[in-house]
Symmetry: C2
Subunit: 492 residues, 2 copies
């Protein structure tokens, strides 16, 4: 995982008095959610008009719904069925996604069609980038509108003149999309609840790390990345997992006692908190006990328990797979660290596709209260879009954490460092080349996502693609504005 949770730069603050033991831990299931629940599920702009206009240029593309008016490029506010929250009881929850969507409409979504579609995807890119047509203001709940929402000038300031200026500057030359400031009430409530969970439920960190935990701003991060979450509890699902992932990274891999030595054992045993052991009664008890034995395992176990209440079995399986990828990535990086080896650039990029934010954007449907069906998620074109998005977001982390990692003890691999070493470039030129690599991946992600949307115009696919794009944008927003953690190098 990229390291949004590490770096104890200022970790000597005493514990806050607020850590009193009396707070109940069960508010997730209480009625508090109603205070910050959206009035209703967000209505989505119908993708079909835009899709039709594009699809007409795609050889072999599937027919679109007959009710969609032709020759209309701007998405309308015609609502499509959206998920109803609350799958906690195990019954229903999703509507359009599971079982209801005609997968056969995607049979023409092959590589050739995708490449053709890419060339005619400007309208679809607008769909992916965010709401811009009439009647789409409810698409990004919890955000104030900002103009322009898309079509970003590279290196521009995040907020318009009428918005409060965000802290931090974007990396010059970086291709990204600004987002509206996340809703303060949601951020406040998620921040309050996540601290209570971390402190009272799982004891994720000792008192002296409190300032660092606050500086992580994980509530703001997750609200920015999941604008369509129907309730605070949906946001909490993502937020707990993010904190847990960072507890593992910090305590096992990086700053807080982490080490490449023995990491394979630690990560596997922690992974059983996500992907449970099935063994004999005699040995199962010791395994169950082990899940309470350190902060990373307590956090994984509890966060997963909440997650599976909202996720379908296939969504949980998807998350476990992504986490096993993440752990493989940690272990490749650890092997290089142990040998003090700097890999080739392509090898680093391969490792970084695994040690990657991927587990975070791919739960966007669970957090949004719907499901991208497993058979659609598994399609190569969807897998490619997810991988490209994950890789772009992860390189954003490399770029923003560059100076922080330079200050850390030892050599911390990131893309600029590896390019400088392997391609004989100056630190500045290597950094600028890393920006180009990121931009290239972002452009490819958007083109492939647009092509996929054209080839497979199923509502859950379109919503999932928008969710991943929103995560990409929110992730950049968080990195740029987290001046507690990040500062840019002096290359310009």
């Amino acid at each position: 995982m990229p390291d949004p949770g590490s770096s104890p730069q200022q970790s000597s603050t005493p514990a806050a008095a607020a850590r009193a033991a009396a707070a109940p831990a069960d508010e997730a299931e209480s009625g508090e959610d109603a205070l910050l629940t959206l009035p209703g599920p967000p209505s989505f702009p119908s993708p079909f008009p835009a899709v039709r206009e594009t699809a007409q240029e795609i050889p072999g593309s599937a027919p679109v719904t007959e009710s969609a008016p032709a020759h209309r490029a701007v998405p309308e506010s015609a609502p499509v069925p959206v998920p109803a929250p609350g799958r906690d009881d195990g019954t229903g929850g999703e509507t359009t996604a599971r079982g209801g969507e005609p997968n056969s409409r995607c049979t023409e979504e092959d590589a050739a069609a995708a490449r053709h579609a890419r060339q005619a995807s400007s309208v679809l890119e607008r769909i992916l980038c965010g709401p811009s047509g009439p009647g789409t203001s409810s698409l990004r709940p919890g955000r104030r509108e900002v103009s322009p929402a898309c079509g970003v000038s590279e290196g521009s300031s995040v907020f318009g003149a009428s918005d409060p200026p965000a802290q931090g500057e974007p990396v010059p030359g970086l291709y990204y999309h600004p987002v509206p400031e996340p809703d303060a009430a949601r951020v406040g409530e998620v921040s309050r609840r996540i601290k209570r969970w971390a402190v009272d439920e799982v004891q994720a960190y000792p008192p002296e790390w409190e300032e660092e935990f606050d500086g992580f701003s994980v509530g703001r991060y997750m609200v920015a990345c999941h604008p369509d979450a129907p309730t605070i509890e949906h946001l909490m699902v993502a937020t707990r997992l993010m904190v847990a992932e960072n507890a593992v990274d910090d305590c096992y891999c990086e700053d807080h006692g982490g080490s490449p030595i023995g990491l394979g054992s630690r990560l596997l045993l922690a992974h059983t908190a996500l992907d449970p052991l099935h063994t004999t009664g005699e040995y199962e008890a010791e395994w169950v006990e082990s899940l309470q034995s350190d902060a990373p395992r307590r956090a994984y176990r509890s966060a997963m328990e909440y997650f599976v209440r909202k996720a379908s079995p296939s969504q949980a399986d998807r998350y476990r797979h992504d986490m096993s990828r993440l752990h493989l990535g940690y272990l490749a990086e650890a092997a290089w660290a142990q040998a003090e080896h700097v890999p080739e650039v392509w090898e680093y990029l391969a490792m970084r596709q695994f040690n990657n934010f991927r587990p975070c954007p791919t739960i966007t449907d669970t957090v949004g209260g719907y499901e991208l069906p497993a058979d659609l998620h598994a399609r190569p074109a969807v897998q490619r879009v997810i991988a490209l998005a994950g890789n772009a977001t992860t390189l954003v982390n490399d770029l923003y954490s560059y100076t922080k990692e330079l200050k850390s003890p030892g050599t911390h691999l990131n893309l600029p460092v590896v390019i400088a070493e392997r391609e004989g470039l100056s630190e500045k030129d290597a950094y600028l080349k890393a920006v180009e690599v990121h931009n290239d991946l972002m452009h490819t992600f958007e083109a492939e996502a647009a092509a996929l949307a054209a080839a497979c115009p199923v509502p859950s696919v379109l919503r999932f693609l928008r969710g991943v794009a929103a995560w990409v944008d929110g992730n950049h927003y968080w990195h740029q504005t987290n001046t507690y953690r990040y500062s840019l190098p002096d290359f310009w």
Copy 2:
């Protein structure tokens, strides 16, 4: 992965002359298959009569089909729709599995019902163990009938008096099911084709390892484990993957140059042959080239290429997930090896749930030419059955390879060794306790599978469960009879 491909005990034989270069590598797609293709898809005994008898005792169990006669315990030969082979063109192939099965019939398949069902599962266990009713002789194509097919006496000889005696003795006291001798014509053809692939297509091993490769008997192994494969090419899908997995294990982890040092890097880069890198054009070329750079990567890449032609995207995703688990397991074991650390027994069992045969039985549907739908595969009860089966098969490997591993340099962890060390038992007592652990897992696997079959009597689920059970039985058969590789300790 358990180590069915390692141990170069007799590896000095010169290369065979048969390694001539002229053989074409495209026979997989040729008409040769017809020679050994089954005359038609096997007809399955209807599980419903038995299910009904059991289901009546399950609180809240789902209704069964009305056409199923009640009070009939013995499975009949009423065929259910079965897959048509040949999904190579990407269109269709499966029939009952994808889209056609009523998943809702499984909504009552929860833990409580499963536990109740387990108590009334003797009939279902018979279904899982193998054909015994009238009209089921076509269930295990390529095998001669053997009696008794199920209801095995522990520690009995594998074959009846009328069958040719198999080589090797079973571990005394081990709970297992004997299987009929695999069809010699199929074994011969798979053996011929796999050697051609290994030698000519992917150069999986140097000439001096030929005897070891032959001693592996992978053709016999896979024919024994996949009795319902409709064609030789379906068997080849499993056989190539098995050889590739063992090439990685041998060359990266174990006997042939393997080491825990740097393993995390090697495994991740090899994993990209299964789960491809998505990066910029500049770096992609070097990655593509890397996939040809050593035997493990050549083998993974090619075997996966053949596999995805037969598998659905969800089946390929499942396999990738299982392989990432396997690689995590390797890395946990490597961490202990590097530190010369003997884990607790439960920790060893957790590692062994990952360093596990699991990727092999879970492709049983692809090899059988049908699909267990992703949403059913992901259900916790199915995941549990798969994990238990994988754990039992893997401990079979620990028991049969015990003396081989004792002869290897260094301490090779296996369950008897870990139990002896951690629980202060003699080698013999530790071995006998390991047998008990295996038997316990086998009994639990069968009980949970029977409960699942009762709770979710969907044809693809039942066939998948039988496929996993067949893999478990075939795996034992191969271990017992592979006297080239294995011999029992002198404890009885």
